[in-house]
């Protein structure tokens, strides 16, 4: 068989998918490295270097009150008295305007521009660290959301200030234990407008009057929730804003002289009240600064900024309160708050001093960051560095000479800071729509390519060698060309675009060649209808099985369906399973035609098939449908819960046994798990034994006989040990600790040994030579046997294999091999298990891998894995029975092709069991415990735990992907039952040779293998495509960072694992094929001797 072309094609397909995903994700998920350094009082940096401690100086303000009104858009804060009929959100905060116009030296109102993503959590990170947070801050601990970067709250705590917080409980999770006092209120319920605000108001004034605080942070949520619920233009928004007006008013009244008041919105909102994206309506919030004593310089248009970027608040507040600027801040001090000239009498810094400190801190951060990551363009970086060294030498020299620095210097420093921020922003904080579109296009074409490949696999494999050299060469050339072009125009190379260009050009070339192949086929076959046009007609694509994936993809576009994904997928699988018998019945295949001879003339199956066969197949089919449905229903009880699902109770199987309190329940669960494990193991062994694969003495059989049971024993013991509580067996503590370490590691070793044994020696055929060689038919002269489809070896093959096969079958039926029964068929070679030579190692591999993955799960999941195995078996049998039924009635003529329905079921089942093994597409639900199985003391590197957790998370994807080729084999495996019973034993059936048929038609074998894999990749790829679409279209949705972006990450990783392990499964099949070829080669001389 043509193994390599299949493998290369699949590899290329997956590679194109990966490139598409990579390009999209590069434009959507902005990745930034966190710098985990903190500023201290000592390191910053009076210009003279004289006064040592920065924090010791007299700060401009002793205390500050920061009122954060979530989603306080700048439009809400502006006041326009000329408007006679203001909308509900307009002119509701008159206090700001009153202060600004009556006391301009004490208060100012600015538009306050946030950086996308404009969600509350990212914004809090933004205006406390002064950095530009992205969705994935690498170095961030996914398990807890605490901010690890240097930030204002941390600095305040370090210098001994008392920070009191009240309001949105997001802060509490971001800054655990950082507050002197904290009064969090639940922020989860968007419909609740008042709990948080009223809670704050209860405590705000009493706290203000007290003396035990230095910085007071109050985060109001009402305005934001009101926007989400009603939109901005609604009477309740007016009420809410009026309430806020009153709050600001009374806070100003209570304010003392040494206190700064900051009123700010963290982001804006669109006209529908949503936020998250990067439109001006979402980013422009309001910033209001007020001090009871004059603080602002005379209105100086030169220094007055039009818009204040959100990052600028951090250095400003830090310098005003006399603390170091947080390390990773890229903000710029707000100049109007500092004096123009140094004045010794008044505390505080001059504008130039502030700018200098700020610039130095930013430069230090830039140096640290660029030494860690390479995502800032190097050319830009060196420009910035040069600029800073020039400025610093100017500043220092002017200081040394004692003259006042040139007035230009302040402007240049400002320009420097602005350009640093812009550089960082363009690297981190902007969706890249071009990249996103390019990624989408590549993915869409990749999906289309899968579809074309699956429909045309036969033509591609049979008539034309699939030259991948041209696409690969073109891809490489295009990549290099783009790289060179970039080098010429921009001066540096961006790898993403090279990859994108390569992938895209190879896709286009593929389509072009595919067109040519089609037209060529038409030309050659003259009268034949063009495949191209036939392919385009909708009737060739089955509607119902593809409707289900379509619905599934549509469901990925709605957050409610993503939240309920587990049930949605189960629902869809269930629907498709019910569709199978209905479809068969519609075609008149399910019920055997009535025995009435008059009527059945038209519908009568081909001769030689008794009615009982049909009836038996139908019973099998319906039984398997029942089994499948019950596994589907039972699998629902293993689901976890998202936090969005309010009234949901997570499955009790999800908790490890060691956490269970009730002893009786613990034992019950343990027994249940062990029983499931036992059934799992014995089922696997039983199947292998049933098809005669346990007779020989090869590596695979050794694995099935010894390693499989041993592994399950290991697992059972491991669960027992890990479930024992620490104090119950005190004197055995040492032993338990050793066992906790040794048992899982032994299991890993056994697993590795088993898998590699299967790989090395996959043949499970047991050959027994019997009788004299003379009894062989003389028509077997050549000892050399070739696997190709030449004419003369074909004849041998036809002769040899049925004989071997028949004996094997006889051994299956346990009939004693008495040589006298069939004199003409006296055989010299008996082969056990030849009929399942392909599927047996694959099945065993799958089962073994499943057991290994089970090791990484909590104990209760054993039942779920058993269900997975049962569902796989039921699916395979349904597929086999329906194929047989179609074949019996003569309507099935697809060669070995696997139709869409089982493939769709197979790939949806992967998603279904992703949920049924307790996983969810959210980061908090990742089962981190998997990293510590066998490594109870933690790890030194990150690679091993990461791969363990990945294996745990995508267990079902892995199992279904590896087992995918089974869909191709199973109808052949099951064929024997249908036909062998029907035929009398004496009939020499050249076609009844189970999987040996695949060897007889190597071309068909490889084309159907390619088709099956392409279809599987298509279903998964389409899901990835639609979740990518969801992320791209809904990037301003309220739930984008909570639902869609994590879903995208999980879908993408699931696809990655699926394709990798699908390739693995295909490779295993090819390996078996080669081994079988060698086996035949060895057999032939033996037989002819």
């Amino acid at each position: 068989m043509k193994g390599l072309p299949v493998l290369w094609l699949l590899l290329w397909l997956s590679a194109v998918y990966f490139v598409g995903i990579y390009v999209f994700v590069g434009g959507f998920l902005l990745v930034r490295l966190e710098v985990n350094r903190t500023s201290t009082c000592g390191d910053l940096l009076e210009p003279e270097g004289g006064s040592a401690d920065f924090c010791r100086g007299q700060p401009r303000f002793k205390r500050a009150i920061i009122l954060i009104i979530d989603a306080l858009k700048i439009d809400f804060a502006r006041f326009d008295s000329s408007k006679t009929t203001p909308r509900h959100y307009e002119n509701k905060l008159p206090v700001l305007e009153e202060v600004v116009s009556s006391r301009p030296s004490q208060g100012r109102l600015y538009p306050f521009r946030a950086d996308p993503p404009t969600t509350t959590m990212q914004r809090i990170k933004g205006f406390t660290t002064g950095s530009l947070p992205t969705f994935v801050d690498v170095g961030n601990n996914f398990a807890s959301s605490a901010i690890l970067e240097d930030n204002l709250i941390h600095q305040l705590g370090q210098t001994g200030r008392h920070v009191v917080f009240m309001g949105d409980d997001t802060w509490e999770s971001l800054f655990p234990k950082k507050f002197f006092r904290s009064l969090p209120f639940p922020s989860f319920n968007v419909k609740d407008l008042h709990t948080v605000d009223n809670g704050i108001l209860q405590h705000l004034y009493t706290t203000m009057v007290g003396d035990d605080w230095d910085v007071l942070v109050a985060h109001f949520l009402g305005v934001d929730h009101c926007g989400h619920r009603f939109g901005p233009d609604h009477p309740s928004m007016a009420d809410k804003l009026t309430q806020m007006d009153g709050v600001i008013r009374s806070v100003i009244e209570h304010l003392q002289n040494d206190t700064l008041l900051v009123v700010m919105g963290d982001h804006g909102m669109t006209d529908t009240g949503d936020h998250g994206g990067e439109s001006l309506k979402e980013t422009d919030a309001a910033l209001f600064l007020y001090s009871p004593t004059p603080v602002f310089a005379e209105s100086n248009s030169q220094n007055e900024p039009n818009v204040v970027p959100q990052t600028d608040l951090v250095p400003t507040l830090a310098l005003l309160l006399g603390i170091p600027i947080p390390y990773s801040s890229v903000g710029q001090v707000l100049l109007p708050l500092f004096q123009e000239k140094t004045a010794g009498a008044v505390a505080g810094l001059s504008q130039l001093e502030a700018l200098w400190i700020n610039a130095k801190q930013v430069n230090r951060f830039l140096e640290t960051y660029s030494s860690m990551a390479r995502d800032i363009p190097p050319q830009r970086l060196s420009q910035l560095k040069d600029e800073f060294s020039r400025l610093s030498s100017d500043y220092l020299s002017s200081l040394r000479e004692g003259q006042s620095p040139p007035s230009q210097l302040a402007l240049s420093l400002q320009a420097y800071l602005t350009s640093v921020r812009d550089t960082c922003r363009s690297t981190w904080a902007r969706f890249n729509p071009v990249k996103m579109a390019a990624g989408l296009a590549i993915l869409a074409f990749a999906c289309l390519m899968c579809l074309v490949l699956s429909e045309l696999s036969q033509v591609l494999i049979k008539e034309y060698s699939v030259g991948l050299k041209a696409p690969a060469a073109l891809a490489l050339t295009m990549g290099v060309v783009v790289a060179a072009a970039q080098l010429l125009t921009q001066g540096y190379v961006e790898g993403v675009w090279c990859l994108a260009a390569g992938a895209f050009s190879s896709e286009l070339l593929f389509f072009w060649r595919f067109r040519r192949v089609n037209s060529f086929t038409v030309l050659k076959n003259g009268t034949k209808v063009s495949k191209y046009s036939r392919w385009l007609t909708p009737c060739r694509l089955p509607v119902a099985p593809l409707l289900i994936p379509l619905l599934r993809c549509a469901s990925l576009l709605s957050d409610s369906y993503v939240i309920a994904e587990g049930r949605v997928v189960t629902f869809l699988v269930f629907s498709l399973v019910l569709y199978i018998p209905i479809q068969l019945n519609w075609n008149g295949l399910l019920l055997p035609p009535s025995p009435d001879p008059l009527k059945s003339a038209g519908l009568l199956p081909p001769s030689g098939l008794s009615l009982s066969t049909v009836r038996k197949e139908c019973t099998t089919l319906l039984g398997c449908v029942g089994l499948l449905i019950s596994t589907l229903y039972l699998s629902l009880s293993f689901h976890g819960c998202r936090e969005e699902q309010g009234s949901c109770q997570p499955s009790s199987f999800l908790y490890p046994l060691s956490r269970m309190q009730d002893n009786q329940l613990k034992n019950l669960h343990y027994v249940l798990s062990v029983i499931s494990l036992g059934i799992y193991t014995s089922l696997l062994r039983h199947v292998l034994c049933h098809y005669g694969n346990l007779n020989s003495s090869g590596g695979t059989v050794f694995t099935a006989r010894w390693i499989l049971p041993l592994l399950s024993v290991c697992l059972g013991l491991h669960w027992a040990v890990s479930a024992t509580s620490e104090d119950s067996f005190r004197n055995l503590a040492q032993l338990i600790r050793v066992a906790q370490l040794a048992l899982p590691r032994a299991a890993y070793c056994l697993l590795g040994l088993g898998l590699s044994l299967i790989w090395i020696d996959p043949i499970t055929v047991f050959v027994k030579t019997r009788g004299a060689a003379s009894s062989r038919t003389p028509a077997m002269p050549t000892p050399c046997y070739r696997a190709s489809t030449g004419i003369s070896p074909q004849a041998e093959l036809h002769h040899l294999i049925p004989q071997i096969y028949q004996h094997m079958r006889r051994s299956l039926d346990d009939s004693e091999l008495s040589g006298g029964t069939e004199a003409p068929n006296r055989l010299t070679v008996e082969a056990y298990g030849l009929g399942t030579v392909y599927s047996a190692p694959l099945l065993l591999f799958c089962g073994l891998l499943g057991m290994g993955l089970l090791l990484l799960h909590p104990e209760g999941m054993a039942a779920s894995f058993l269900l997975l195995l049962l569902e796989m078996a039921a699916l395979l049998h349904i597929h086999a029975s329906s194929t047989t039924l179609c074949g019996l009635h003569g309507t099935y003529s697809g060669g070995f092709n696997v139709p869409w329905t089982p493939v769709v079921l197979w790939s949806l089942a992967a998603t279904q069991f992703f949920h049924a093994t307790g996983h969810l597409p959210t980061f908090p639900s990742i089962q981190w415990g998997a990293a510590f199985v066998g490594f109870p003391d933690g790890h030194t590197s990150t690679l091993l735990p990461a791969s363990l957790v990945t294996l745990n998370t995508f267990a079902s994807h892995i199992l279904f992907a590896v087992g995918c080729p089974l869909l191709l084999f199973w109808p052949l495996v099951c064929e024997v039952r249908g036909i062998s019973r029907a035929r009398t034993c004496g009939v020499e059936g050249g076609d009844a040779v189970m999987e040996m048929r695949l060897r007889e038609n190597p071309l068909q074998f490889s084309s159907s293998l390619l088709q099956l894999s392409a279809r599987y990749l298509f279903i998964h790829g389409v899901q990835v495509f639609s979740s990518v679409c969801a992320a791209a279209i809904l990037r301003r949705h309220l739930m984008v960072w909570k639902v869609f972006a994590p879903k995208l990450m999980f879908e993408v990783s699931g696809f990655f694992m699926s394709s990798v392990f699908l390739l693995f499964g295909v490779m295993l099949v090819l390996r078996v094929d080669r081994a079988v070829a060698r086996w035949f080669k060895n057999l032939m001389p033996d037989a002819s001797r």
Binding site: I582, N585, W586, L636
Partner: protein, 219 residues
């Protein structure tokens, strides 16, 4: 003959649709605060009852029901008994299927069962009326060459429409819109009803336009 049968079908369907309409409107006269959402179960029973009654009467009058070989009273009674039994079993069957589809097992069992009753009266009742209590015939009807009269084709279409309607009706349930019709089982029963009504319209139309192609083997 064709036109005659199609006309009979159209009038039958008009009668059934009218009865469903009356079942939605009339109870409001007797029951205070009757509404499709508010007192959904009541509406559901009314509709089921109306459809059942009208179908039985109309199909009996039309004489579509296959004639029986034996004409004794005892045989008729046993047929009636079997019909009732099948009706009840079909309710249980639908209940099971709905639960397997993901409906809560215990909490709203009454609602689920009511939906099963509705589905039974919209689908199984028609089977009973057209084919008699004969499961073999029911299964036979739902195959490509299984229809043996216009009424069988009509049965195929209405049943498929009803079931697809109920299936589609489950789609809006997970959405977070908080609408009264998202409450279980309102959307499904509404979907089934709308599907059934569509089927009532679609069946005669389809048959009318395909009457040339339709050929039936005699029974």
């Amino acid at each position: 003959m064709w036109d005659h049968e199609i006309r009979a079908m159209v009038s039958t369907h008009a009668l059934i649709a009218a009865s469903m309409f009356m079942a939605t409107v009339l109870p409001a006269v007797f029951v205070l605060s009757f509404s499709v959402y508010g007192t959904h179960l009541l509406w559901l029973y009314c509709t089921s009852g109306a459809v059942n009654a009208v179908s039985v009467v109309v199909f009996w009058l039309l004489g579509v029901t296959p004639s029986t070989k034996k004409n004794t009273l005892g045989y008729k009674l046993s047929r009636l008994f079997r019909a009732c039994l099948y009706f009840f079993l079909s309710c249980l069957f639908f209940h099971t299927v709905i639960v397997l589809y993901g409906a809560p097992l215990i909490e709203s069992a009454l609602e689920t069962f009511s939906l099963a009753v509705l589905l039974t009266s919209l689908t199984t009742m028609r089977c009973l009326c057209v084919l008699g209590p004969n499961v073999q015939a029911w299964i036979r009807v739902f195959s490509r060459h299984g229809a043996m009269s216009v009424w069988d084709t009509c049965l195929q279409i209405t049943v498929a429409c009803t079931l697809i309607g109920a299936w589609v009706g489950a789609f809006p349930i997970p959405l977070d819109w908080d609408r009264p019709w998202q409450v279980w089982p309102v959307s499904c029963s509404l979907g089934a009803t709308i599907g059934y009504l569509t089927g009532l319209v679609a069946a005669p139309t389809w048959i009318h336009y395909h009457r040339k192609q339709l050929t039936y083997k005699c029974k």
